[in-house]
């Protein structure tokens, strides 16, 4: 530093100290004066004048009138003056094209200068002058310079080709400059290679289908050699170019990775990030069981952490990228939680990004630390940051079950601070916690209610209203609370209005006697005084539902809600893959594809990760090859994406499906779409009565619409409304459980579309076990009971035959179940209408609900039944296949599936063999779907089909399964993952039974 300041002093002594004076001359007639000075005979004076001109130009004054005078100064030996004139030319040539020609001669002459620095300067500047006449003259000098003996001139000429291409692409092609440029990739000088690569990459970007950057193993080898020798910037150009290459096989991929990894120790963060990009991309091709794969994963973590000690702006870029990397490969940074702890002096943009990553990395192992940190952050000053910290606490509660209790108490502490925005944020997240862990933390409702007055944000108000409505029976003054909101109904936002409407209807259904007036009030407000169609429609639906059939209304409005998922804000996988290909660039900072912010043809082509080895040869052109393999062959992720193509189309105008709880408006939207679908259904025949939805056009459209909009399990409201329409318009039976009609829409996703396409006419009914005798006549004073179970149209039914083998008439039948594992209970009386005479048999179907009292049985599917008649009470026990409990909306969103699969610890995984089964994978999939085992995705690897399937039990437990079917091998392998591992063996039994029937 000492010499630097010394230098500064030296300069101060010289003439330079006075340069700033050029900025201050603002007199009138300045231009005139300058003109005179520019034409002065004295060199010094001329130079001074040009400096003044440049200074004026910088601050935005128009000095174009001086063009001829300035250009006249161009012919000079003084390089400094020459550079200044060139600078002026670059700025104004476009506005004075005719006069710019005057400069051509000097340029052409300079291109022949013995000094390479001057030759390079001339060709560099000429390329920046966007005047047609000049570009014509540029071609010859450029051609010479591309073959110049001096590398400095060649590297400048390489970039000049890109400049010329930007002005006149045709000219560049006609003149054959592209070929010369390609030759420069083999140049002996690394910097020439780097610049040639940069120029070619840029030109190739505007010709997506050209084979310009013909990357083959030979050129790749050259690039990798140059990589070790060129400047830091050159290394970036080369690495960014390498990232576009698709290696032919995993071996090539590995050898490139090996040669790129040393770059991870470079001091320049951009070199490191570009190297990470290449590695992340090529890693996709490596087999996971390879030792090298593990080594590589380990090597990636330290450099990423080091990026966080860079300057804050770079930290920000790094954090945005780490956010992507953590989503793609969480294993890389899972032990590095601490480095993401926020420092007091971090700029706010760094703090917010760190917080985001902390939540992603939170797990049972580190949750205590994370919570302690979050609590600390919640007391900071920046409002956005504090809000995000509070929200993060809620997300931890949902993500890590063990921490839920602590999170809730932390949130309560925060509510006690009474800081307005903290309270509001806390209430919003507590709502989600209630959803996730029903009947656990409702004791805090009282505390929440105390803060009702301070809520002024729609989201918080809506959340609070939801809570009041949902738990109306536990809140003594729920009606008063809701009424207080009702006063300003029209001033509320739509979100709050919709929520208020639903909450009051819920309240009415729970406490009908006291709240009749209130419900009428809200219904009239919503239907008569509102301009909002969503609100009006919802109001009408409730109104009709309540007036037609209150029991159905209760089933619909108070239906059980599906559980909310744990991971939130995940980037949709195809977008994530694309962004991984753009690590280090603006796209990865914005988390948007380049097409979203770049104009014109550049960046429109979507990049894809390469497919894992063995999935087919890619074609010559890397881009084409990638996109083809991305669609047709098995892509790298665990879950294949047959739907990618369609998914992309849809993503153009629809937000990527999120796995978070959909906010109320969107569930309303969904309700609205269901309205249409449901309506069509009831027109096209009673779809509700068929066991499996038939692939009729109307049904099809319903699925499509429902799936697109929802994508993930929708909130109770949306589902409820959907069914409500069915009830209101169609002749659906009373007491139909809510899950039924809405099921296809809830499971959602495009996968349904595909399933339907493949499954036309092949679906079979739900599995029903053979009838067995449960109670023998001799044990029951002549009453013989045999039966079976079935699931029809979403209702579990116990089909019982009662045979009277006694001599006397039997009557007054009744049935009762003991508490059992899944809360099965008779949903109605045992309907034996006429007394049963001797030797008579009656067949009865007893509908069962699954909301009865629960007690774990051994075996799990054991059911103890008591049957009473006029003679005595008899007891027997029977076992039901667990497939009865598989509900219709058990199709998991693919993304959720992936996240859940990862999330369930591998200890919970159980493997089973299913022997002697001769079905094809499609047939098996269809057969299983009949029993509500849904194939979420299918993947084929080396003649082995892998079906990824999801099942949801009536009590909300999800079971995930992977079924491997090898062509020609009658033995299937089934892996079952479930949070309640005791279920697994029963599920596997069901698989066996279903597949073999």
């Amino acid at each position: 530093m000492e010499w630097a300041s010394q230098l500064c002093e030296n300069r101060g002594l010289g003439s330079k100290m006075t340069d700033s004076k050029y900025f201050t001359t603002t007199k009138k007639g300045e231009i005139f004066e300058l003109k005179a000075e520019l034409n002065s005979d004295k060199k010094e004076k001329k130079k001074e004048a040009v400096k003044k001109v440049i200074a004026s130009m910088t601050v935005g004054k128009d000095v174009s009138a001086l063009f001829p005078d300035v250009v006249n100064c161009m012919q000079t030996d003084n390089l400094e003056l020459k550079k200044l004139v060139y600078l002026y030319l670059m700025n104004y040539a476009k506005s004075q094209p005719d006069m710019a020609i005057m400069a051509v001669n000097t340029f052409v002459k300079d291109c022949e200068d013995p000094n390479p620095l001057i030759r390079a300067l001339a060709v560099r500047t000429m390329g920046c002058i966007r005047v047609d006449k000049i570009t014509e003259y540029l071609c010859e000098p450029l051609r010479k310079c591309l073959k110049d003996e001096d590398p400095y001139v060649r590297k400048t000429a390489a970039v000049c080709v890109a400049k010329l291409h930007d002005i006149n692409a045709q000219l560049v092609e006609d003149q054959g400059f592209l070929d010369t440029l390609k030759d420069l990739i083999s140049d002996s000088n690394p910097m020439v290679v780097a610049n040639a690569v940069a120029a070619l990459s840029e030109i190739a970007e505007s010709h997506p289908n050209s084979n310009l950057l013909d990357l083959n193993p030979q050129t790749i080898n050259k690039l990798l050699t140059a990589l070790n020798e060129c400047t830091e910037w050159g290394q970036i150009f080369i690495l960014d170019c390498l990232a576009n290459y698709t290696p032919r096989d995993d071996r090539e991929s590995q050898s490139i990775c090996e040669r790129v990894t040393p770059r991870l120790s470079h001091a320049n963060s951009a070199v490191v990030l570009s190297a990470v990009k290449v590695l992340m991309k090529f890693m996709e091709m490596l087999p996971k069981d390879l030792d090298y794969y593990g080594t590589l994963l380990k090597k990636l973590a330290p450099p990423l952490v080091t990026l966080l000690s860079a300057e804050p702006e770079l930290q920000y870029v790094a954090l945005r990228n780490i956010n992507l990397i953590v989503q793609k490969r969480p294993e890389i940074l899972k032990h590095e939680m601490k480095v993401f702890f926020v420092k007091y002096n971090d700029p706010i943009y760094v703090k917010l990004e760190k917080l985001d990553i902390m939540i992603r990395l939170a797990s049972q192992a580190n949750i205590a630390q994370v919570l302690a940190e979050l609590k600390e952050y919640a007391t900071e000053v920046d409002v956005d940051f504090v809000r995000k910290a509070v929200r993060a606490i809620g997300r931890c509660a949902i993500k890590v079950e063990q921490s839920a209790e602590r999170c809730v108490s932390t949130l309560l502490d925060l509510i006690q601070t009474k800081v307005n925005y903290v309270v509001q944020e806390a209430i919003v997240v507590i709502k989600d916690i209630f959803r996730k862990y029903p009947n656990k933390y409702e004791s805090v409702i009282a505390t929440l209610c105390e803060n009702l007055d301070s809520l002024d944000e729609p989201e918080a108000r809506a959340a609070m209203i939801w809570i009041v409505g949902e738990y109306a029976e536990r809140i003594d003054n729920a009606d008063e609370l809701l009424e207080s909101f009702l006063e300003g109904f029209h001033d509320e936002s739509t979100q709050v209005q919709l929520q208020l409407l639903t909450a009051i209807v819920k309240l009415f259904l729970k406490k009908p006697t006291e709240t009749q007036e209130l419900v009428q009030q809200v219904l009239s407000l919503a239907t008569q005084d509102s301009d909002n169609p969503d609100l009006r429609d919802r109001g009408y639906i409730y109104w009709r539902l309540l007036s037609t059939d209150p029991v159905a209304a209760k089933e619909v409005v108070l239906a059980e809600k599906p559980l909310i998922s744990e991971e939130t804000d995940l980037i949709e996988p195809t977008l994530l893959e694309e962004l991984i290909c753009h690590i280090g660039t603006l796209a990865s900072v914005y988390h948007k594809p380049p097409s979203a912010f770049v104009e014109g043809s550049r960046g429109v082509q979507h990049k894809r990760l390469p497919a894992r080895a063995g999935s087919g040869e890619s074609t010559e052109s890397p881009d084409v090859g990638q996109s083809v393999s991305g669609v047709s062959d098995a892509p790298p992720a665990v879950i294949p994406s047959q739907g990618d193509l369609l998914g992309d189309l849809l993503n153009l105008d629809l937000a990527p499906p999120t796995t978070t709880v959909p906010p109320v408006p969107s569930s309303m939207q969904m309700g609205a779409m269901d309205l249409l679908g449901g309506g069509l259904d009831s027109l096209s025949g009673s779809h509700y009565r068929t066991e499996v939805p038939s692939p009729q056009p109307a049904d099809f459209s319903e699925r499509e619409l429902g799936g697109d909009l929802g994508g993930s399990p929708a909130m109770g409201v949306g589902v409820g409304v959907g069914v409500g329409v069915g009830v209101g318009l169609g002749p659906a039976p009373v007491g139909m459980p809510a899950g039924l009609g809405a099921a296809p829409a809830v499971g959602g996703g495009l996968g349904d579309l595909f399933d339907l396409g493949g499954g036309v006419g092949m679906t079979s009914g739900s599995y029903s076990p053979p009838r067995v005798v449960w109670l023998q006549a001799m044990k029951a004073k002549g009453l013989e009971i045999s039966g079976t179970f079935a699931r029809r149209g979403g209702v579990i039914q116990m089909d019982v035959s009662l045979t009277n083998k006694a001599m006397s008439v039997m009557s007054d039948f009744a049935v009762q179940f003991n508490k059992n594992s899944f809360g099965m209970a008779p949903a109605g009386p045992l309907q034996v209408l006429t007394p049963l005479g001797p030797n008579q048999t009656v067949e009865v179907s007893l509908p069962l609900s699954s909301t009865g009292p629960v007690m774990k049985m051994e075996p799990l599917n054991n059911l103890q039944v008591a049957v009473k008649n006029n003679i005595d009470v008899f007891y027997f026990s029977c076992q039901y296949p667990i497939s009865l409990l598989f509900v219709e909306d058990g199709k998991m969103d693919r993304q959720v599936f992936l996240a859940t699969w990862k999330d369930i610890p591998s200890d919970n995984e159980a493997q089973f063999q299913i022997k002697d089964c001769h079905l094809s994978s499609d047939a098996a999939s269809n057969k299983l779907q009949g029993s509500n085992i849904f194939t979420v995705a299918k993947r084929t690897v080396e003649a082995q089909d892998m079906l990824y399937q999801s099942i949801k039990l009536t009590n909300g437990i999800w079971v995930l399964a992977e079924l491997r079917i090898q062509t020609g091998n009658p033995n299937y392998t089934l892996s079952v993952k479930c949070r309640a591992p005791e279920v697994s063996q029963y599920v596997s039994q069901c698989y066996e039974l279903i597949l073999k029937n």
Binding site: D19, Y86, M191, E313, Y349, V419, E599
Partner: protein, 440 residues
């Protein structure tokens, strides 16, 4: 690539404006001023997108540097370039200030023309640039000199020119570490790491080949196992210490270091630039010697009084002396008065900084000192609680808290007649506090 580069003063007036691409218009200059410099809010992101144009900015004192683009550029590269630009300017004319920029605007334009071509960064090593961007004109050079310049600018060793001669071959090696700590009020280490730099000043003749060695755990373990100890120069520079080797989490190197060699053999070999430069940066998180421990005790006495007691303990060899010790104890915004008593050094309440600043000039190892303060508060009806910022600490110690030791630095210059033994070498260790905070 970068479409344009602007430099503004704190008022948003343009000092330098250089446009490289046709898609960037003059209005971009104003867009940034209006939306970022004149924005009322705090800057929420260093990257701003205004009307499909992206602006990257960094600030040096009150000068704004902004790079503009309409393409999907490599964002990390743009920031690295902006930092580099600052380094180059500093090397040419000292501090980046409005005054200096105005005084050197012609030079800056010349530099911008050289180091950024069509938005692509070119060689930006000051050593190389200074050979031909001199503001003197270069007509006087001989042909050999010219080709030497161009081959250096484009060559493999762009950071060093040939033909350097010194009468005395000398090199200075500084191991500068900053130790960072975040501790909970209960004394639990929440996070601690050392980020270190090895800064070298070399005054060596010719094109010397250097090899640098330190007590890197991986190298030591490898040698220990292999038995082929390369003990030439071992403990030549570093003294012996208690800790044998250290585990380096990660390190990055100046571009002169051959990375592929480091990757395969973990040896650090290079041809150094002339003068001062940063050879490497590293990071360690294991077995860090925390030079000081801060024990805070804050007690709220009613609503208008706080009692603070802070003890600091030095934790290193008693023979060593820490210097420039400063403890900063934050006080609430509604502080009306403070009484301080300290055993050592001087303590003052600085109302403008909302903190009690306690300074101690020197302190030996294994000692402790204490400060107690009574803070009187004005009653407020502000519901928001005081955020209690952490107590921070600054110091300088004459050892490396990571435990890093330089084992050797060997110099070979095959063409000139001086050997490794003729080079005079100096090594110095300085440990400074980075963000050294204890929550209270």
């Amino acid at each position: 690539m970068i479409g344009g580069l602007f430099i503004y003063n704190h008022k948003g007036e343009v000092l330098i404006s250089r446009v490289y691409r046709d898609d960037i218009g003059r209005n971009a200059v104003d867009a940034f001023r209006v939306n970022v410099i004149h924005a009322r809010q705090q800057v929420r992101s260093p990257v701003t997108n205004i009307a499909r144009t992206s602006f990257f900015h960094v600030k040096r004192s009150n000068i704004w540097l902004a790079a503009v683009t309409k393409q999907n550029v490599n964002a990390a590269m743009v920031f690295e370039f902006l930092y580099k630009m600052c380094d180059v300017m500093t090397a040419y004319f000292g501090k980046i200030s409005e005054e200096n920029i105005k005084n050197n605007f012609v030079l800056i334009y010349e530099l911008l023309d050289e180091i950024l071509d069509f938005g692509y960064p070119q060689n930006s090593e000051t050593g190389a640039l200074k050979t031909f961007i001199t503001q003197q004109g270069i007509k006087s050079q001989t042909k050999e000199e010219q080709s030497q310049i161009t081959s250096q600018v484009t060559g493999q060793i762009g950071w060093r020119r040939e033909g350097i001669k010194y009468r005395r071959n000398e090199l200075f090696l500084d191991v500068l570490e900053s130790v960072n700590l975040l501790m909970s009020p209960q004394g639990q280490v929440l996070s601690a790491h050392v980020s270190g730099r090895v800064v070298m000043k070399s005054y060596l003749s010719g094109m010397p080949e250097c090899k640098f060695g330190m007590n890197d755990k991986i190298v030591i373990d490898k040698q220990g196992k292999g038995g082929t100890t390369d003990d030439a120069g071992k403990s030549e520079l570093g003294g012996s210490s208690g800790k044998q080797s250290i585990a380096i989490d990660d390190c990055t190197f100046h571009q002169c270091v051959r990375l592929s060699k480091f990757d395969s053999e973990r040896s650090i070999s290079f041809i150094p630039p002339d003068g001062e430069y940063e050879l490497m940066r590293y990071r360690t998180t294991k077995d860090i010697i925390l030079p000081f421990r801060v024990i805070p005790l804050v007690r709220e006495v009613g609503r208008t009084k706080l009692e603070v007691k802070v003890v600091i303990k030095s934790n290193f060899k008693p023979s060593l002396l820490a210097q420039k010790i400063e403890v900063r104890i934050p006080t609430p915004l509604n502080t009306s008065g403070v009484q301080v008593i300290c055993m050592k050094g001087k303590a003052k309440y600085k109302a403008s900084e909302n903190a009690i600043v306690w300074k101690i000039k020197r302190m030996a190892g294994m000692k402790e000192s204490q400060i107690s303060a009574e803070i009187e508060l004005l009653p407020t009806n502000d519901k928001k609680k005081w955020a209690r910022p952490p107590i921070s600490m600054n110091f300088e110690v004459p050892f490396a808290p990571s435990g890093l030791k330089v084992r050797y630095l060997k110099v070979f210059e095959p063409k000139l007649n001086y050997s490794d033994h003729d080079v005079i070498k100096w090594v110095r260790y300085i440990g400074r506090s980075g963000i050294y905070e204890t929550r209270c």
